[in-house]
């Protein structure tokens, strides 16, 4: 039984009242949902909240998953994406302007490339951030990323190109700053 069939079967059992089936599903998929949320937010607390939102939503909408349209993992990451976007919109509504501009802070000295990169990814505009997370961190193909985000493959490629150019510039700038500190 492949993962798609197994997930569909577990969801079916859950809908019939088997709580253990849902726990099994949660344990199988929570890490990927959490990692996606963590990559998108750069914040473990927010990622945990988003993961919780996703699975509680699934408890109440178990019938919304259609195995013929893709895997449960992809479905849950789409749900996570919507929750993150909604949360972000709510946060931006209440955040003072100063705080929004501070979101793109410079990396402190001594950060590794990975840490600088993590900060730089979080500071990217969402449409660029998402393709970087899907294609580079989750190592999805262009087609998979396009399907998950709901855009054309060509758009994924062009956004990824633009995002990587921005990130490479940031990393490069940081290296130069470290070489000749002001």
């Amino acid at each position: 039984m492949d993962s798609l069939d197994r997930d569909a079967e577990l969801l079916k059992r859950f809908r019939a009242g088997d709580r253990e089936a849902f726990t099994t599903l949660y344990r199988a998929h929570q890490a990927s949902v959490f990692r996606f949320a963590l990559s998108m937010t750069g914040d473990e607390t927010r990622a945990a909240e988003a993961t919780q939102d996703v699975f509680i939503w699934l408890i109440h909408h178990a019938g919304a998953f259609d195995p013929s349209r893709g895997t449960l993992g992809a479905f849950l990451s789409g749900v996570a994406r919507k929750f993150l976007r909604r949360r972000r919109a709510e946060e931006m509504r209440w955040a003072p302007l100063d705080e929004i501009s501070l979101a793109e802070t410079r990396s402190p000295c001594g950060d590794s490339d990975a840490e600088t990169l993590r900060r730089a990814i979080v500071a990217l505009p969402e449409k660029y951030r998402e393709v970087v997370v899907r294609c580079d961190l989750e190592e999805k193909s262009y087609e998979e990323a396009a399907s998950a985000i709901g855009i054309a493959v060509g758009t994924v490629r062009s956004r990824l190109h633009r995002a990587r150019a921005l990130l490479a510039r940031k990393l490069d700038r940081r290296r130069k700053e470290e070489q000749c500190p002001a």
């Binding site: 709580r19 990692r35 961190l137």
Partner: protein
């Protein structure tokens, strides 16, 4: 090499830096271009460094998973959903039992013909309560031959002391549905089970009630009229 050529190599350059499969001819052309184009060879170095940093970042988060508190919260929600579903079944069962007991009471009431006083009411349910109060009520023939002056005798008993109380878990009445109001004596215990605030001290006693019966013959609401007897 012209800027246009560099632009043509933008995507292959990114694919190469990301270690993605690439057409052999494109790979050769890109290699040739990188040998003669300093900006593009600089760009690919930056992109390769970026890919390395990406790999490092992906490795750092590879083992990340949601904290145990998330699983606890989800299990709590699962339990709550399960409990709600169980309560729904219990309420549905209780509603069915109550409906059955009311139906039984109706049947028993009809068997005890001398006690039953029936008033057929035709207007919509919204007007039923008022109508039940003011409508002329006819008594069924009484077993013992009595002088026929029933209207005068039952009128005081029809004073609406209490409103109709809906019987839980019965389908709502349609506004245009015809209803019957059946007057009968019901055991206090059955009324308490239906959630009616009955003040009678003895649960074994009977009270006089008006029962609102829908077109389908099912009882929908009950109203207290007066206490009748104690056993």
């Amino acid at each position: 090499m012209s800027g246009l050529s560099c632009r043509e190599f933008e995507r292959p350059l990114m694919d190469r830096a990301r270690n993605r499969p690439m057409d052999a001819a494109v790979r050769m052309a890109l290699t040739a271009h990188l040998e003669i184009c300093a900006p593009c060879s600089g760009a690919i170095e930056r992109q390769i460094r970026l890919s390395e940093a990406m790999e490092a970042l992906a490795e750092r988060t590879a083992d990340a998973s949601a904290p145990p508190s998330v699983e606890r919260a989800i299990l709590l929600e699962l339990n709550a959903v399960h409990a709600r579903a169980r309560r729904r079944w219990i309420y549905a069962g209780a509603g069915a039992a109550l409906a059955a007991s009311v139906a039984m009471a109706l049947w028993l009431g009809s068997a005890r013909a001398p006690k039953k006083i029936e008033a057929r009411v035709t207007p919509a349910p919204a007007a039923v309560m008022q109508a039940a109060v003011t409508a002329p009520v006819e008594t069924a023939p009484v077993a013992a031959p009595v002088k026929r002056a029933p209207k005068r005798r039952v009128k005081p008993a029809l004073k609406p002391e209490a409103p109709f109380v809906a019987i839980p878990y019965t389908p709502p009445l349609d506004p245009r549905e015809r209803v019957d109001v059946v007057r009968m004596d019901m055991p206090v215990a059955a009324l308490i089970a239906a959630g009616l605030p009955v003040g009678a001290a003895d649960p074994a006693s009977d009270v006089r009630t008006d029962v609102l019966v829908g077109q389908d013959g099912r009882a929908r609401a009950v109203r207290l009229v007066a206490a009748v007897s104690s056993n």
